[in-house]
């Protein structure tokens, strides 16, 4: 046995052993973090069918799709008229900011309505700020809503958590903490009144 230690050899062995141990430890973390991701049955494609004819004129119904709340709104002729005339108040009037506020079926014809059939608006009901469900305040002006909405309120949604405002096509209004319009999702009409969401 020699008195002198070979430091460079020793350091190499330390690094090699420590490095391999580190790689093994990192690999062992994969299944544990992986197990916390949604399980296969949670991920399994889930579609929701809904008969929109059950929603009365002017009524809002909240349904569930993949565990998320979804607004189904039956907008009357009068409510659809309230979509015009406040474009300058909107952060993203054409719903182009991110993919989630758009959908494959969104064309230039229905862009303003954000729906396949103009009267039935179907959007994810989570405020894009921090996920609360906004309250439905459809009539224009402040008569029914008091201070919670601005004077030139076009009708739409008001979020109770942090005061975000959306118009009747769920497009976010300037000055709201929410960054985006309420999200759209893929859906299609199976029959005249039955919609398949997802």
């Amino acid at each position: 046995m020699t008195e002198k230690t070979n430091d460079s050899r020793r350091n190499f062995l330390y690094l090699a052993a420590g490095g391999l141990g580190g790689v093994a430890a990192a690999a062992a973390v994969v299944p544990f973090i992986g197990s916390m991701l949604p399980a296969a049955d949670t991920l399994a494609a889930s579609k929701t069918e809904y008969d929109v004819s059950t929603v009365a004129e002017g009524q809002l119904v909240v349904i569930q799709w993949q565990g998320k709340p979804v607004f189904v709104t039956n907008r009357t002729e009068e409510l659809l008229k309230q979509l015009d005339g406040h474009d300058e108040m909107l952060k993203d009037k054409d719903s182009t900011a991110i993919d989630a506020v758009s959908a494959k079926w969104l064309t230039d014809e229905n862009r303003k309505y954000r729906s396949i059939k103009p009267e039935y608006l179907i959007v994810v009901a989570s405020c894009t700020h921090l996920g609360c469900i906004p309250g439905y305040k459809p009539s224009a002006g402040r008569k029914e809503w008091g201070d919670s909405v601005p004077e030139n309120w076009p009708g739409g949604w008001h979020c109770p958590c942090h005061g975000s405002l959306y118009d009747l096509s769920a497009r976010v209004i300037n000055g709201s903490p929410a960054p985006y319009n309420l999200y759209l999702m893929p859906y299609k009409y199976k029959s005249d009144t039955t919609v398949v969401i997802g």
Binding site: Y14, G18, V30, P31, F32, G34, S35, M36, L37, A39, A40, D41, T42
Partner: protein, 405 residues
Amino acid sequence: MLNTIMKTKLFGWVDRRTGAEAIIKSQLTEYPAPKNLNYMWNFGSLALLVLVIQILTGIFLAMYYKPSAAFSYGSYTVAFDSVERIMRDVNFGWLIRYMHAVGASAFFVVVYMHIGRGLYYGSYKEPRELLWIIGVVILLIMQGAAFFGYLLPWGQMSFWGATVITNLFGALPVIGEFLQEVLRGGFAVGDPTLNRFFSLHYLFPLLLVAIVGGHIHALHVVHSNNPEGIDLTKEEEKIMFHPYYTVKDAFGVAVFLLFYCYFVFFNPQAWGYFIEVDNYVPANNLSTPAHIAPVWYLTPWYTILRSFESKLLGVVMMGASLAILFALPFLDRSKVRSARYRPVFKQMVYLFFVTVIVLGYCGHSAPTPTLKLIGQIATTYYFAFFLLLLVVPKFEKTKPVPEGI
């Protein structure tokens, strides 16, 4: 590497406020360990490793496991289904559950080796009596945790195992029935039992961590025994824990993981020893399986229970077989520790190891008259071993122990 870390500014800041460097040096890196420890001394660190594996995998399993005996629509029970969901739908759920199930058996393999080493080399003798006693407490808590855990999948073995064991307590006079109801939360094993067993299954490992801390602290006060069983007085008889035993322990871990991974990945049921086949049948309180036995690590004590005609005596003797471990340091008064220098004790302790294995075999098999007799003989020796230790030192001619190593 650790020395490099201990030279950094950040570590210095922590050290001035906690005295971390002194603790690390005295308890780990520069802890003086006997230089002649053999591979039997690897099982302590392995037990600690398995404890960590069990706690870690258990935390992740608890994220998906549901302790409810309620029937689920179109299926079995909420608990049984949640375990099957872990196996089929949860990402890596099969891996984490098998790590936990195999880990339970691995824990007992490692701990039984650790206890056997302590017996053979006299590690329970003065000044390590309390260290041994704390170890027996750890064993009892482990057995409790394992028993509680085995109920959770809510299969046939879970249910009937828990029924049998909770009935044991019913055998005790006066308080028996009360104890039984406290354990079950009802008149039979059922939903309340499952809920409290889950709670206790989560509590016991936390107790283990605390008591293992005490075990290690007690060890570092009285220091490790060694294969020669003599007190080491000279500096040159000891070496620093780091790097000598950190490396040796790491090697032991690598060998252990080889076996552990074989079972986890290729043989998680271990021919029905680690996970009994009947436990894949959902619990049915109206039908007992044809053959029911506890998991292998509890079978030696199960045989002792079965060896007595009177129910009460069986329960008391089973309790006594564990309780006598507490008394061991005071039963054996020989001044010589290691079996290497005790010819009679050496034969006795080997026979004791064989006896425990025979007891385990008998407890795992279906009861027959032959096995019952063998079990009774083994039970007799189990207790005789401890009682003989009272008289053996009076006539045993021990070999001269070395002056040093």
